[in-house]
Symmetry: C2
Subunit: 396 residues, 2 copies
């Protein structure tokens, strides 16, 4: 029996996309990893998590092991609300949903807002997992280019106005990573932030603000779109993955209560009482501001190591944006096909992600690549870029 | 702005159902809890989980805190595969998906198999959460009655044959809890198990076997449908929630690889590396068979306390099925409206779940109620039933 014959058409269509995790060639473990968006191993709080779990279970015994029951789960929500408030985002309890990371948050939002006829606007390039999620719901995806000041809101406005004049459907929402964008590392300017919020009101769409990297600024940082959101059109997606530990799967959506209610409705993992309670204890025992100073210093220093290695080892023709925060640097190598380049790079024991995986129209990414400076240590970054520079010289 | 205006019609429809958790009146904490399907607090492995997390983090440090990385995650899958094999279910690695509990498993299956036109067949009464999930996808739900031998497969066959003769669409799948059913506590006979598997082949539908309680048998137990499944039509849904700890959110789907692939595709919580790794260590350190002996003895004894209290304190007119395993007992009180009865019961400090919440046609459940003997201790069960008996006498 072919079980696939039971799938409805929309599922069959979705399954025609490239399967998750099959985008990128196998990366050998011994490679210097400049591809993955993992936090620095040295910054992972394994000792603190162990202490948190121990004190949680000694204090509450069986409570955190039930479906619900640990008071710490409410505490976690309060802690996230408090943190959002410190960042200028004032939302009520019913305007916040804790999710299994930002990824589940984005999927839930897509699930309640999109059908096969819906339009969604995205940045081009953008987070590959979000691309994949949106393609599970609709094929009508509008790509808006990003430059060194982030999303080109002028282009967005032209497209929206043209669609309106032609009587075409307007987007349900815009998905943007305004701060330290994945993959470009760019940040949306204050002017453009204001502009995109005005566009959302004028053309009646919602904004999904993915702020996974927002706390990792090396210098100044702009207020979040949610903090500037006067019309309650922004769904702010956040996560502890990049600042604490992705394995705990703690993310959230902050937005209009109707949206939060609907997302909660379709969230069938029944939360993760144990993980949430453990993270609540962890956060109660942690000075997050001090921790963020360490994170920012570490990643800033790695960024500097990366950029000076690039200056030293890369051909003149290569260019890149210098990220002011986050995990990633975006590079252009004119004349290169970065998928080919990756094959050579892996042979030399260094990895990156070819640009094409961050675009709907993959051809647009041929000359680009994403380097991550979050996971590899500084020695590895320098050595990795030395090898990659050599490979690139030889390839061009 | 009304964010609700952004919802597609199918979402608006789904949101018209009763919201999750709003089915049942607030149960005061001081009530004797005969309503909830929680494991017995005394059986919760908080010490063992603490030990597992400690040794996991001391051994693997940051690995379990990343998105992926802990070898224990693969170990967990191997442990589940091994356990399934011991129960006569031989599936390959690609035929198994670890989920966030059975609830997410059921939702994923519904998501990839149902659209608004699809038919799904369910037991009547059935697990309320599953009812709610299916109603999020389709309104075309066929209820098949359950008696003391479980699903009435004869009735199912009549309905299927009639639909076929009339040229009506046949169900995509049947959702059944064949062993120690929720809410009735009944178990499908061997004959009916054989029959339903033949019907699945003859009328070309899949069977979703929810086996959450299957390991909790007080006497003999039947093989699972999956163990009898010659035509690869059974999707076996299991969970550690009822035998280890629901808060860890470990469940699974075992079935055809195309189904598993599609479910994995739409599962966007990126698994829970930390919880999965911790459970793998817990299982490695635990003799599950010995543990199950304890669980079965404990719940059998609670079942006995419950039934003898019912004999002692309940009016002649009340009747019930004596469950041979699991957590629940199903009772009929002719002439009663169990929702009214609950109001009186809560006033006397004892809870149960009115039968209507387990039916699509809620009126069918008016005279029924579900008692759980899993959570309350034996003293509480006796006292709870004494109060409930008194309330019932007075009410009738």
């Amino acid at each position: 029996m072919n079980a696939g014959s039971f799938f409805p058409d929309n599922i069959k269509k979705a399954l025609q996309n490239t399967p998750p995790g099959e985008w990128i060639p196998e990366i050998p473990d011994e490679c210097i990893s400049l591809h993955c968006g993992y936090p620095a191993p040295a910054l992972m709080p394994d000792e603190e998590v162990k202490a948190a779990v121990t004190s949680l279970l000694e204090e509450e015994h069986d409570l955190p092991l039930h479906y619900i029951g640990s008071p710490k789960i409410i505490k976690l929500k309060e802690q996230v609300l408090k943190r959002l408030k410190e960042r200028g985002i004032s939302v009520a309890e019913k305007e916040l949903l804790i999710t299994s990371g930002a990824c589940q948050a984005i999927d839930l939002i897509a699930r309640i807002l999109l059908n096969e006829e819906s339009i969604v606007a995205i940045e081009s390039p953008t987070y590959m997992e979000a691309l994949e999620i949106f393609q599970n719901y609709t094929r009508h995806i509008i790509s808006i280019p990003v430059d060194k000041h982030g999303l080109q809101t002028g282009v967005l406005e032209e497209i929206l106005e043209e669609r309106r004049q032609k009587g075409f459907t307007l987007p349900r929402f815009l998905y943007t990573i305004p701060t330290f964008q994945n993959p470009t590392g760019t940040t949306m300017s204050g002017e453009r932030r204001q502009h995109v919020l005005e566009l959302a009101k004028k053309y009646n769409f919602l904004i999904v603000e993915d702020d996974a990297y927002g706390e990792l600024s090396f210098n100044k940082c702009f207020p979040t779109l949610k903090a500037m959101d006067q019309y309650s059109r922004v769904l702010h997606v956040g996560s502890l993955s990049k600042i604490v530990a992705p394995g705990m799967r703690i993310g959230w959506i902050a937005g209009a209560s109707e949206i939060i209610h609907a997302c909660a409705w379709f969230k069938k993992d029944l939360n993760h009482p144990f993980a949430q309670a453990a993270m609540a204890v962890y956060l109660a025992n942690t000075n997050l501001n001090n921790k963020l100073v360490t994170l920012r210093d570490t990643y800033r220093s790695k960024r500097d190591v990366l950029t000076s290695a690039l200056e030293q080892y890369f051909p003149e023709s290569a260019s890149w944006y210098v990220p002011e925060g986050g995990y990633f640097l975006w590079m252009k190598i004119p004349g290169a096909d970065t998928s080919e380049l990756l094959t050579h790079a892996l042979a030399e024991g260094v990895s990156f992600i070819p640009g094409k995986y961050f675009y709907i129209d993959q051809a647009a990414g041929t000359e680009f690549l994403r380097l991550s400076f979050s996971y590899a240590d500084e020695k590895e970054i320098t050595e990795g870029i030395r090898r990659l520079g050599k490979v690139t010289e030889a390839y061009l």
